[in-house]
Symmetry: C2
Subunit: 67 residues, 2 copies
Amino acid sequence: MCEASAYLITDGEPELIMEAVDVAIPTEEGELKLINIFGEQRFIKGAIESLSLVDHKIFIREAAGAV
Amino acid sequence: MCEASAYLITDGEPELIMEAVDVAIPTEEGELKLINIFGEQRFIKGAIESLSLVDHKIFIREAAGAV
């Protein structure tokens, strides 16, 4: 399988927010919807910044002004 | 291996621009640098929009105003 772990980049160290992510897609509300291989969903105020797929990592940059 | 194919979204159908992508990372110049598992690099005026990793697909949205 080729899922990856999603990390949120805020001010400090990247924080693991979801494992086994399959799909990441922006919503009309400006959020990023993550779906893992178990069908679980999570909505993040941010956008995909970078990928390292062989390492199974997705880095998401927190949106400016996100709470 | 968990590399993916990168597709560029412009006006029409997504266009395959690189296969076997490992790393995608933004540059200081505002481009997106793609590196595949063979070490080949490509710079794209755009940003990662969405992912479908089980399908091995990365979708990149062309930057507004890109030539």
